[in-house]
């Protein structure tokens, strides 16, 4: 495709820095730059607390982005993750409120996402509904279920759950919640799955060309469906993490969060056309978005509209820098 033409030439270049890593590297460099600029501009910016908070505040988004990476790598998209996350928080809160025990509620909440993801996968693969539409319908569906279960926000008071959620480890200034731990585990698992299993490589193959993957005799159907199951499950898990984070379930949570997840994945260097990208890049993308938000808060004088404009501008600067860095070697 489009990438093949320039790729022809670089293969012969003496410097052997694999082009595929450039976007991720770009993201990383710019992220570091942002930290440095933030650190010199604001007091208390480069503290362990801020960095810890960056992870704590974005654990759920990390999980969403990881799931989204699978789907985008196959060349698809999942618009439902924000709504599924909300559904998962609502299910968690409602069931806990009804007195169900935590060990039952947790798998149920995640399972809700799995089931919706499965439905997406089946619709997309077997009925050839376009991913955008199938998951958009899924988004409405999940949101609708939220309202049916509970339009109002429900607080979670279950001591077991709260205990799980508030587990904070302090090593000096470094703090961590179990959410961050879970998110990192998910990330690690995703990395292993994508790079060390046939399923993972098939995900990439499908993104490189579904027809080709099919003719290569790879299990396209199963893999594609599974990618949506992974994304759905991650959304369910993300909901759980968000419920731990906010200790409540609310049907309007996560509106447009799918955009954050998609943006994170794309900023992390993954191509929306599928087949190229790394899950670690997606996490860097999440951190970039989180950092932009942190900078906005530290700036402290922005009115609502300037907030949006500045977010847009930072995003732009970021994308341009990353683009420049990853184009350097062509």
């Amino acid at each position: 495709m489009t990438t093949s033409a320039p790729a022809r030439w670089t293969a012969a270049l003496p410097v052997r820095l694999d082009r595929r890593y450039l976007p991720v590297l770009g993201t990383f460099v710019v992220l570091a730059l942002m930290l440095v600029v933030g650190g010199t501009r604001y007091d208390n910016f480069l503290t362990p607390a801020v960095v810890s908070n960056l992870f704590i505040n974005n654990a759920h988004l990390v999980v969403l982005a990881v799931g989204m990476t699978f789907v985008i790598l196959t060349g698809g998209i999942d618009l439902s993750v924000g709504a599924v996350l909300a559904l998962s928080t609502v299910v968690t809160a409602a069931l806990l409120q009804a007195g169900w025990p935590v060990p039952v509620v947790l798998p149920l909440a995640v399972g809700v996402g799995t089931v919706i993801g499965l439905a997406h996968g089946l619709m997309i693969h077997y009925f050839q509904v376009q991913p955008f539409v199938a998951t958009l319908a899924g988004m409405f569906f999940a949101r609708g279920l939220c309202f049916l279960i509970a339009p109002e926000s429900i607080a979670i008071g279950d001591p077991a759950f709260v205990g799980l959620a508030s587990w904070v480890q302090i090593a000096g200034q470094w703090r961590m919640t179990s959410s961050v731990l879970i998110a990192l585990i998910v990330l690690g698992l995703a990395f292993l799955v994508l790079h060390l299993t046939r399923f993972g490589r098939t995900v990439y193959a499908i993104g490189g060309g579904e027809q080709s993957a099919l003719l290569m005799g790879l299990p396209v159907a199963r893999t594609k469906v599974l990618a949506y199951v992974v994304s759905g499950t991650c959304a369910g898990l993300g909901g759980l993490l968000f419920a731990m984070y906010s200790r409540s379930g609310y049907s309007l949570t996560g509106v447009a969060m799918e955009l954050d997840a998609i943006a994170a994945v794309v900023i992390g260097g993954t191509l929306l056309t599928g087949g190229t990208g790394f899950v670690l890049g997606s996490v860097l993308g999440v951190l970039v978005l989180g950092l932009i938000q942190t900078i906005i808060t530290f700036e402290g004088t922005l009115s609502s509209w300037w907030t949006r404009i500045v977010i847009g501008v930072l995003l732009l600067v970021f994308v341009l820098l990353q683009r420049a860095l990853s184009l350097r070697r062509t």
Binding site: M1, T3, S4, A5, A7, R8, W9, T10, A11, A12, L13, R20, L192, H195, L196, T197, R198, R201, T202, Y204, A205, G207, G208, G209, Q211, S212, A213, L214, L215, M216, G217, L218, P219, G275, T276
Partner: protein
């Protein structure tokens, strides 16, 4: 036959495949025996690829039975077929450019460690497979960084991984040069001797005669018959394939001999020291009106790259170009087109066909792009133009509204040729224009090139088939290791001389 023939491993009877309203295959039989190389022959669009896809479950036939080892099978797809020991290399390269060479070869039969992929073993095994095919490339490099020919070889490597009892190769040699073909044949023969049944499609008659034991001939979706190769003279085979006598072909081949070169005026395109880092070393080349210049060289010698620089497909870092004596910079294909320079890429699938558009739209695309969107070609003119090329090049089905993706490979190639001819270029750069084209059509195309040159067009002709290049070129530029090493006159060139130059005899 006196010898005891083993029972067929694949037996297809009465297989019919329809794409309403087209009947692509109509009651075709195929018997494939272990330990044989079986050629599947037919013109472009005869139904060869469709038969293969019907066998491997890509298409499901509307009628007929498929027996594998005596048991009836309907595969659900290539994966299923492969699981039953049938591996296939389909006509277009169907691999994933974004993955590494090693993955493309090994995925599906990958070595594992602790339940995960064992990358090192995978690379090692892939390298072994590559070596057997005579390829020395880094298995960890990404497939997209290699030329089409290499990709084709990688695809063949993939098919031979694991134990297969049936190997199907749909036009594997169309983009390979003699060396690679020899390697491939060696591999094929050794597999045959191990008892593998090989189904082989090619439009090169000499290759078919060289390697195959038996053949099945198709015409227009129907079965003509099954023959023992040694018993069927080439002339008869061609007659079976095209349904006409060989004479027609010979007449065409006569006509394709290069015409007298007109006396040299100023060159139409003159390049001096044109080059690009990582692509081709700076070279000089003059192209005159009415002249066919052939490019000869081994796989990866840089013919394609040179052509791309001439046509603005890639931008040169150094050097000058003059069109009719006036300096110009061939910045992009559009600029080149403005000077009357046209380029057909060798990568039909990636850079040629716009598969979601119709035959008509594909043919007028370049002409229309040149005119700009605001001046649409009048419908009448388009219809005439398209009908003309369909007729002239024998494009089948002869339906201007057919989606290009539904055409057979050879017919797609003809459409692309028509696209460029329609722009009436002054310089036409043809990169492997006869790739995947049947004997009849190939002769037609060669004839066409000769005629165009006689009418004053300048043509650059690239082909993996050296004879073809020799026959129609007035002049031949020889490339080696991405460097133009010689330029010889077409009249004085003998096959041996060119081969010598290509091989380079050690000294650069």
């Amino acid at each position: 036959m006196t010898q005891q023939t083993p029972p067929p491993v694949v037996e297809m009877t009465g297989v019919t495949v329809e794409f309403p309203p087209v009947t692509a295959l109509d009651g075709v039989d195929l018997h494939l025996r272990p330990g044989e190389i079986h050629a599947l022959m037919g013109e472009n669009g005869a139904g060869k690829s469709t038969l293969i896809k019907a066998l491997t479950g890509v298409y499901s036939p509307t009628a007929g039975t498929i027996l594998v080892d005596g048991a009836e099978h309907r595969f659900s797809g290539p994966a299923d077929a492969r699981a039953h020991g049938i591996s296939t290399v389909y006509q277009e390269v169907n691999l994933c450019e974004n993955l590494t060479v090693a993955e493309n070869i090994m995925l599906g039969a990958e070595p594992r460690v602790l339940g995960g992929l064992n990358w090192r073993a995978m690379r090692r095994q892939a390298a072994a497979h590559l070596r057997r095919m005579g390829l020395d490339i880094d298995p960890a490099s990404s497939l997209g960084s290699h030329s089409l020919a290499v990709q084709q070889l990688v695809a063949i490597c993939r098919a031979t991984v694991g134990d297969c009892k049936v190997l199907i190769l749909d036009e594997p040699t169309s983009s390979l040069d003699a060396d690679e073909v020899a390697h491939l044949f060696a591999v094929m023969r050794s597999l045959r001797d191990e008892g593998v049944a090989i189904l082989f499609v090619s439009h090169f008659l000499d290759q078919v005669y060289e390697v195959s034991d038996r053949m099945t001939v198709l015409r227009n979706g129907g079965l003509v018959g099954e023959f023992v190769t040694a018993d069927l003279p080439a002339a008869e085979l061609v007659q079976h394939m095209i349904g006409r006598s060989m004479d027609v072909l010979e007449a065409a081949e006569e006509a394709a001999e290069r015409a007298e070169r007109p006396a040299g005026a100023t060159p139409l395109l003159q390049v001096v020291g044109l080059g690009r880092k990582g692509s081709v070393q700076p070279f000089d080349l003059d192209l005159y009106e009415g002249e066919v210049v052939g490019l000869a060289g081994l796989l990866g010698s840089g013919r394609t790259e040179l052509a791309r620089l001439l046509t603005g497909a890639d931008r040169a870092d150094v050097g000058q170009a003059r069109v009719s004596g006036r300096p110009t910079r061939l910045r992009n294909p559009r600029v080149a087109m403005g000077h009357g320079i046209a380029y057909t890429s060798e990568d039909r699938k990636g850079e040629g066909v716009v598969d979601g558009l119709t035959v008509r739209e594909n043919i007028v695309l370049a002409l229309q792009a040149e005119r700009g969107w605001m001046r649409p070609l009048p419908r009448r003119q388009v219809d005439e133009l398209v009908a003309g090329y369909i007729e002239r090049l024998g494009i089948r089905p002869a339906d201007p509204e057919a989606l290009l993706r539904n055409l057979s490979g050879g017919n797609q190639q003809k459409v692309l040729l028509a696209r460029w001819l329609a722009t009436a270029p002054r310089l036409l750069v043809l990169d492997e224009p006869t790739r995947g084209i049947d004997v009849g059509a190939k002769a037609e195309i060669q004839k066409l090139v000769a005629e165009l040159a006689a009418d004053g067009m300048s043509v650059v002709f690239i082909s993996a088939e050296l004879e073809e290049v020799l026959r129609i070129s007035h002049r031949i530029a020889v490339l080696r290791d991405r460097r133009k090493v010689a330029e010889i006159d077409g009249d004085g060139a003998s096959m041996d001389r060119v081969v010598d130059l290509i091989a380079g005899g050690g000294a650069a």
